[in-house]
Symmetry: C2
Subunit: 343 residues, 2 copies
Amino acid sequence: MVTLLDVAASAGVSRSTVSLVINKSPLVKDETRQRVERAIQELGYVPNPNARGLVKKENKSLGVIIAIEDQPYNTYEFNYETGLYSYNITNGIPVGLANTDYGLLTERFCVSIQGKELPALVKNNRVDGIFLVGGLFTPELIERLKEKKIPIIAIGRYYDQIDSVSTDVTQGVYLGVRYLLDQGYRKICYINCPQIYRSNAERVAGVQKAMREFHLEMKPDWLVYCKHNTGEGGYEAIKRLWQSGARPQAIAAANEPIALGIMRFLYEQDIRIPEDIAIVSYEDSVLGGYAVPALTSVNIQKEYMGELAARIMLKRIRKGQEGELEHIIVEPNLVVRSSVGKC
Amino acid sequence: MVTLLDVAASAGVSRSTVSLVINKSPLVKDETRQRVERAIQELGYVPNPNARGLVKKENKSLGVIIAIEDQPYNTYEFNYETGLYSYNITNGIPVGLANTDYGLLTERFCVSIQGKELPALVKNNRVDGIFLVGGLFTPELIERLKEKKIPIIAIGRYYDQIDSVSTDVTQGVYLGVRYLLDQGYRKICYINCPQIYRSNAERVAGVQKAMREFHLEMKPDWLVYCKHNTGEGGYEAIKRLWQSGARPQAIAAANEPIALGIMRFLYEQDIRIPEDIAIVSYEDSVLGGYAVPALTSVNIQKEYMGELAARIMLKRIRKGQEGELEHIIVEPNLVVRSSVGKC
DNA sequence: CTGAAAGCGCTTACAG
DNA sequence: CTGAAAGCGCTTACAG
């Protein structure tokens, strides 16, 4: 393995000089720098990350902590959550990290089971900062995380204790329902996430805001909650509604898994989308783009949230933990595909 | 920050002894060990990974190199690849790494653009070994990778130069087509991947094996290739076939994106699945489980391939690079859902 | 079974 | 602008 010393010898300078060159210090004479750079090239020298990390007290790695409900169970089935939400968010992070040499380490963390411990990545001091994805983190856990004194950025959900990048849920839901109304639909039902989610109130507010603009009231029975954030959850919810005799012209779903559950039920009843009934979804994912028919959905910009979070992280690392918390709200936007017609 | 020295002082031993305890050496007297362990507990000591890595010459990180066609472009649309293949494989790796303290770093690498360089993770010596996912790696690139002298395991595709975990494509495709035949379908068409894929021959072999068992011949016109591995690719392929007048009883698709493209075309024609036409897919993903109707598909066990690859990696790190290459073939299995009936 | 000492490959004041 | 020296926090022979 070629080290600093080899480069120094080859270039005829001291180790400090080589180090200064590597770290782009302006203190080195141009001619010396070039000589050193040539030696680095020739020898194929690469700085040892551990040696550097040891003295600079940094890992050049960031952690993504994904909150999960229980043990990760790999399945593609309709009655399981898809994991696409955290996957898409995580995909955006490297975009914001481009042109840095930060690596990204991922860990799934079950708050309910491992709640008393810390994620291994932070416990073992493997990372210089962490991203929290998912809404399952408790305030207590976040407090314990903060004791490690590394930057923490929440993605997808607002937490008042730390920096966050989240989405305007009310506005997003509003956009979807509003689009249905704009297209002439009036008899609209909303299939919401399971009751336990705190963001449900924001969703309902979005529905109501749109309805009121059209001087309509949401029928209380037409606001239903799924048991799970899965296809089956949506399927069962629409089935119950249908069996109660409800015949909406359009359905707004809280996310794609739920929307696809609804679509499956309708398919079984031989009800055509969008000819017989319209459906609009929220969140957006490959499930929406690939759905049959393609789902009109509100895109909450998951990748972009990840990217922005990465930028905040870099800033925190550079400037330190002091200063105002940042709470960025990303605007959702409607993606019109083929599941809504004209009423 | 608490260091080895603090623990040593607190426990009244030397640093070497603490180090031996941490590394579970049997050389330490039981009573001493307990004293040291108590001190570690009390002080909340965590070994510094960089210091340890520096002397042991290891990173305790592994890299996943995902081959991509061109720049990653984030979209959920029907005319883009989904990325689910590499995502699912990558998800399996941590399972095989459980109870070790290896972290997993991911890098997307565009062979055609960055072909002359090495992935940053390996160039900068950030990882102790790498997993190659995707079939786009060239033999030359692999040779250059091997010069780094770290273990390399290919997942999903066989390469003769390195360890690999892959799938029996012919058997998988056979399973799917065979199932159609078993259910009574005879007029079957096969929608294959784009021509450039080397695995296409294996797929065709699978189709033919099944057909011959039933004393049938594949009509050459009914074996068609998509332009892209996307929904649109499948959509356009089936459209061409349909417009040529072909009316198959059943369709076998080379993967879910293609299958969903086919399903979209059929939906537009108001052709019901499975009542009017059956469809079987291959690979399996959340796109299949959530499809409307749910897709019967051949599961190639992507997560399990990742898990096995991780185990091989651990073995290679322990035992070194010597010894026979391992080439594991994972058996595919049919997942019966709702897209195939009885003919 | 335990301790003193050298060394892993860097960076960073400090002189000059 | 450059070099000698100390130090980051560990592990590992080597004595004893």
